[in-house]
């Protein structure tokens, strides 16, 4: 997926990322299969998809946090961060970039903090271990950071152990840790999934305000369309290790092109019930080691015809009157095939 030309090199450019898991005697599980996207400075890209579609693996691949083996990244894959190739970069260089340039917020605030160390120490550690500030200065900055992520009593939070904090507070601490060194890219992998809905909104606001302050680019991974639609500038929808649709948030959520996106959106209830009955995508996400032939979505697609079973469509992108969009679907060629009732509705 290429961003609209802006005359500047993108901050992050992922090209043809392929990650597979190989174990002896078994079919290789192709978990991520040719994912490409770009992210400009200060931009928010939402990566959406069901569990198991490869979105977390894509996120972890960027700062090379995937354990290899068992995972295996194709040598043809390319992850350019500020023009620098990260696939195959030295561990030392990657350590320099992690935290300092690429911050990461994980899905599980309950288990992502070390239970035996104080929160303040864990935040400060990201700073002083780089040798640029003293431990004491790092503590001061950590206190400011905890204040910035809206702890009511940052001093107490500094001295607290993770088990003394709620899930939302832990996620704030993790965010403070991730942005401590003022990275230019923040990757948030399902940052709100484990949290209450009210806390979710606060965390999203916090991420948005941090972004407004520092101009960092945000890669937001979520299965939650509501979350993504709130903050993302652009959206990429993933299915079975591939990006199946891209576009601005308004385009993708307003007029989805790919049947999968359409199904996802029709499965979301609206607060006033204006959307009518909910629809359901039949079947389930295929396993990465047993993808169907042709278009991987065809067994679940209400519009699929014989071509979909044999040929795999490309993600075709291009400028339209409403902006840069694309979908990996044969319907792009033959829009007339989008006929009939589409998804079956579920009685509600």
């Amino acid at each position: 997926m290429n961003a609209p030309a802006r005359g500047v090199a993108p901050l992050l450019e992922v090209r043809d990322l392929r990650v597979r898991f190989e174990s002896a005697g078994e079919t290789a599980a192709r978990a991520v299969e040719g994912v490409s996207f770009t992210l400009a400075r200060g931009e928010t890209l939402g990566l959406v998809g069901e569990s198991g579609c490869g979105k977390s693996l894509t996120a972890l691949s960027i700062p090379r946090l995937v354990d290899e083996p068992p995972a295996q990244t194709s040598a043809d894959s390319s992850i350019l961060f500020r023009g620098e190739e990260l696939v195959g970069a030295s561990q030392q260089r990657l350590r320099q970039l992690r935290g300092a340039e690429i911050g990461f917020v994980f899905q599980e605030p309950m288990t992502s903090l070390n239970p035996v160390h104080r929160v303040g120490d864990q935040v400060a550690e990201a700073l002083w271990t780089r040798g640029e500030v003293s431990r004491k200065q790092a503590k001061t900055i950590a206190l400011e950071l905890l204040d910035r992520v809206e702890f009511r009593d940052p001093r107490r939070a500094m001295r607290a152990y993770p088990h003394e904090l709620s899930g939302g507070m832990r996620q704030r601490a993790l965010i403070a840790m991730a942005v401590a060194c003022e990275p230019s890219l923040l990757i948030a992998d399902e940052p709100t999934t484990a949290l209450d809905v009210t806390v979710q909104a606060q965390i999203l606001e916090l991420l948005a305000s941090l972004q407004a302050d520092t101009g960092l680019a945000l890669l937001l991974i979520s299965h939650d369309l509501a979350v993504v639609s709130q903050v993302a500038d652009r959206v990429a929808v993933m299915y079975a290790g591939r990006i199946v649709e891209t576009g601005t948030a308004r385009q993708v959520f307003g007029s989805p092109r790919h049947p999968y996106t359409e199904g996802l959106l029709r499965a979301v209830p609206t607060i006033d019930g204006a959307g009518g009955s909910l629809a359901m995508i039949p079947g389930r996400v295929p396993r990465p080691d047993a993808w169907p032939s042709g278009c991987t979505f065809h067994p679940r697609c209400p519009y699929a015809w014989d071509r979909c079973e044999t040929d795999e469509p490309d993600l075709r992108e291009g400028a339209t009157s409403s902006g840069w969009v694309g979908a990996r679907c044969w319907l792009e060629d033959e829009p007339a095939k989008r006929s009939g009732t589409g998804y079956a509705e579920v009685d509600s």
């Binding site: 946090l65 990461f104 288990t111 035996v116």
Partner: protein, 345 residues
Amino acid sequence: MAAPRRQTRRLERFELRGGLLGRYAVRRLVGSVPLLWGIVTLLFILLHAAPGDPMAAFFNPNVSPDVLEQMRRNFGLDQSLLEQYGRWLGNFVTGDFGFSYSRLRPVREVLAEALPNTLWLGATSLVVTFVVGCTVGIVQAVRQYSRLDHGLTFAALSLYSIPTFWLGVVLVLLVSSNAWPAWLDLPISGMQSLDYAELGAWDRIVDRIRHLILPTIALGLSSAAAVARYMRGSMLETIDEDYIRTARAKGLSERRVILRHALANALLPVISLVGLFLPILFGGAVVIEVIFSWPGMGRVMVDAIGARDYPLVLAASFLFATLVIVANLLADLLYAWVDPRIRYS
């Protein structure tokens, strides 16, 4: 500078819970009184049920049966078992451990001499066991499935399968054989050399340490192998935790990720092993002290059992049991010190 500061902060936290801690420790110790009573009572019954006569050592054509009978009366062995038990327990709770039949000295004196020697050997073995075991386990976990890992696994399983008494004897044979290099010569018996009294302060320390080496290896090696297995498993589990990924995402060095973030967590289950291994260690000490002529509780115990020296066996067992209980308590407190989530309730 930073290290001592961290230390004081830890102590601070520990003291904050100090009141609770003291109460917890006292409660645990009080709770162990019935346990200790049960142990000595059971032992009392077992000892008296076993065949043998405490006065057998004095069987001699020159000693008339009347004298033996008199000795029995003096030691109260002519009374009914229940009377003997009551009298013994009554004295025991006041701290009077009785009189050793075989050594013809107060039990208290015999144990006061032997106990420090056993603690010395036991503590050294315990420290070596855990330091060696944990280090090997960490190395294995970090290099999982490497040749080094496989080699160490093989070595650990082999050592773990070797019985302590066999290892002790083989070490003695090995070191005293002609093939053993002279410069590596190590003492194989006792706690100190014959000329210990004439040595300078430094040489005394060296002499003591040299005498410790073989018994420590014999006593601690198989436990160290077991600790290494546990540590490897615990470390591998910890390395998979989310917070280790968080630490890596912060850009920390692998060394810091392992030693600061993984180690403290991986140690937690291993700490509770201290209490588990202590009885094994004391059990081993009984054998090792005999092999290496170490003048400790283990040897006292073996001699006393052979001589049916009831008061000495009972008092020595009581002391071993107390040591195990106290060490378990210390292990639990250590656990609480490392893990802030533990509360004394």
